[in-house]
Subunit: 240 residues, 2 copies
Amino acid sequence: MHFTSEQRLDDGILQREFTLGEIPGTLWTPESAAPLPLILMAHNNGLPKGESRLVARARHTAASGYAVATIDAAGCGDRPRSAAEEQARADLRRAFQAGEPVDEIFESFIGPLVEKAVPDWQTALDALLALPGIGGPVGYSGWTAVGIRLAAVEPRIAAAGFFAGGYVPHAQRAEARQVTVPLLFLLQWDDEGNPRQAALDLFDAFGSKEKTLHANLGGHTGTPWFEVEDGDRFFGRHLK
Amino acid sequence: MHFTSEQRLDDGILQREFTLGEIPGTLWTPESAAPLPLILMAHNNGLPKGESRLVARARHTAASGYAVATIDAAGCGDRPRSAAEEQARADLRRAFQAGEPVDEIFESFIGPLVEKAVPDWQTALDALLALPGIGGPVGYSGWTAVGIRLAAVEPRIAAAGFFAGGYVPHAQRAEARQVTVPLLFLLQWDDEGNPRQAALDLFDAFGSKEKTLHANLGGHTGTPWFEVEDGDRFFGRHLK
């Protein structure tokens, strides 16, 4: 892991950009004498790690006493994409504009993206836990599809907060019962692109004995800010 | 309002029993120099005000800086009941034991109970707000059916937390859209006696622009304790 830049933010959080082979990432840490628990934070559908809502959440969570890290996994953010991936994105845009069904396109686009992204998150996890000052345990926050796969295959994930606002491929819907860690599942009640019943069915399917659903009125980007604080409290119960 | 007993609890909360005409009640208050916001706390289906889970919630919420009051409204707790009410309760027990459908019995039992209970809660609200040290604003917590009617007819209710664990009569299902205050709706995902879909439909029906659903795995009495804290934080956003 190579740190390429470092900035002390006005809330006292240290924000460092890093590269790990081909993987670019960002790490936010508060000042702390004791080793910090770690939260991996991923944006739905592979949106760039620098997206402002993700950064705001990451900074707030770091200020609550966590190391918070995000990466652009393979195919995500500004990472190079294959011709097939570019084609899927173009198909998606066209279908959206035409008001056509998008589920099949999402499946062909997000399915492989999740398969490729999870190994990068595991690589990042290895490197982050090797850093001085980061001790774990480890939580995961954000992109549901990647989080399901990661929680299913990665025993170091101790608790997970998922945002039900992205397409979840068939494979991850089937894997949901393999997720057994404490879970906070966040749903926007009127999310334009994500059918409510599918999200409720997914919540029902998770194998976790301790799982909580939070649903708020409003569309995809309308999640109230207090849910960030509730998420911090959820992680506080399981990671501290 | 006549106080009939007074006890300083080991958490510093003052617990006072009172009567207000025929209405018996309990008031919990923390020490405070400033006038306190008030939370009316009602147990589902008219269970007695002294029930231990209600008392535990009330004390915790009072310790967070609220005056908390509960009453046994008409027909509730140990209040006298008519022959018809006693018959409905007996029918309900018999139907439960026989595994027969109970919805019609609940309707004939809880429907009139709500109609009678709400005026008593309004009487209590008048008297409580007249006490020194209680300034409002006013929140409501608990029994969904009474809360819907109270929030619909009583403009002093500024925020409400409902527990979706009791029978909601047809009249209150229809009144749900008249509830427009900020709302926290608490659901047990596997509540034996309360169909999940009916609870989700009710959440959908509320007229509130700001409404949040919290659902946790488990049966009727399995609500995790952190939901009491989440409820206090909800009221903190709207009453303080």
